[in-house]
């Protein structure tokens, strides 16, 4: 009896961990995108980027609310977003990298959007009804995000010499961060076995094929570089995350429970 209880507890803890990871990916990328607000290349694109940012922040809220509900203890979404430190965030590193120039933002969105298209399609089949519902909402958003990032990739890649060069530089700089998004640890393996989590490795080849096709059409080159950076799911981050958190969490921590 006690063993079964402890295993229940562990599987619940696994699920909370997993939900927080998905929430962290969404929140951190959403925050990065929100940094474009008022700095977009022109008004229409500024608003479009803000919309995408809000889709991600909305997704993170669904995840954090679910994690709060699972953990009980009276936690709220704000506790997860604002009161955890760098080491407790478990987002993939690609999401926390600075927004860079516009080409860099577009290249990252392309990689992430193609990834999410496959990831959320698989998550739709999750035995966890809440995660399946989050995926159902996310997949519609992602279809639109991908439409945007694909078109911008074609426009910039096959545009001027400068836009082509900036896209290629961004792709080369980001490539090493696209490996860990297909990896998982024991926590996620247990959830994959239980039919709850997604095994991203299953669609890695399809992701590469999709991305390669778009890059080829955009006259851009798929990097063959071997380097890979990893650590996000373990809480080991680049130096950029702490600066992002400082800005994002400052008001909440300086004025706890402030209302406006």
């Amino acid at each position: 009896m006690s063993t079964s209880q402890s295993s229940d507890h562990d599987s619940k803890q696994d699920l909370i961990n997993y939900v927080l990871r998905l929430g962290d990916d969404a929140l951190i990328l959403g925050h990065r995108l929100s940094e474009w607000v008022s700095r977009g290349p022109f008004l229409e694109e500024d608003i479009a980027l803000g919309n995408v940012a809000l889709d991600y922040i909305g997704r993170s809220r669904m995840c954090y609310n679910y994690a709060a509900e699972l953990s009980g203890e009276g936690k709220t979404e704000d506790d997860f977003a604002y009161l955890r430190d760098e080491r407790q965030f478990q987002n993939f590193l690609i999401n926390e990298l600075p927004r860079g120039d516009f080409a860099y933002t577009i290249a990252r969105q392309l990689f992430v959007d193609v990834f999410n298209k496959h990831y959320l399609s698989a998550l739709l089949q999750s035995k966890d009804q809440t995660l399946a519902a989050i995926a159902a909402k996310g997949i519609k958003e992602t279809q639109y995000h991908l439409r945007r990032s694909r078109e911008w990739t074609l426009r910039l890649g096959d545009g001027t010499d400068e836009s082509h060069q900036r896209m290629q530089t961004a792709i080369d700089e980001l490539w090493g961060y696209t490996h860990e998004i297909f990896e998982h640890d024991d926590i996620e393996q247990r959830l994959i076995d239980a039919g709850i989590a997604v095994d991203a490795a299953a669609f890695q080849k399809q992701w590469l094929a999709d991305v390669s096709a778009i890059l080829a059409e955009a006259t851009l080159t798929v990097p063959d570089a071997e380097w890979a950076v990893r650590g996000g799911r373990e809480g080991y981050h680049t130096e950029h995350l702490s600066l992002l958190l400082t800005e994002m969490q400052f008001v909440y921590r300086a004025y706890p429970n402030a209302k406006w």
Partner: protein, 95 residues
Amino acid sequence: MSLEHLELFEVFVRSARGLDHKHAGSLHAADHEQALEYARDCYTRRSEGVSIWVVKSRDICASQEDDSDSFFDPSDDKPYRHATYFPLPKEVGNM
């Protein structure tokens, strides 16, 4: 990217319960496809629409202010073009 490379488009949105597309505003975009997406982002983000048309502003042929006299004034003295001009016979009742 500067605005000089972009075209001006007019946006028409049909709301969920509306039968016709109504002019919602204008925006800049590189081509029709992008204009449609920006229209979605700028003019339907509060669930205003179920259908969008975009058309290049320069493709719209508009009447000119100078033509007002000849275009519109001649109909001012033709009230019989309004159905309400004609008294209804009592037998018809309400129409």
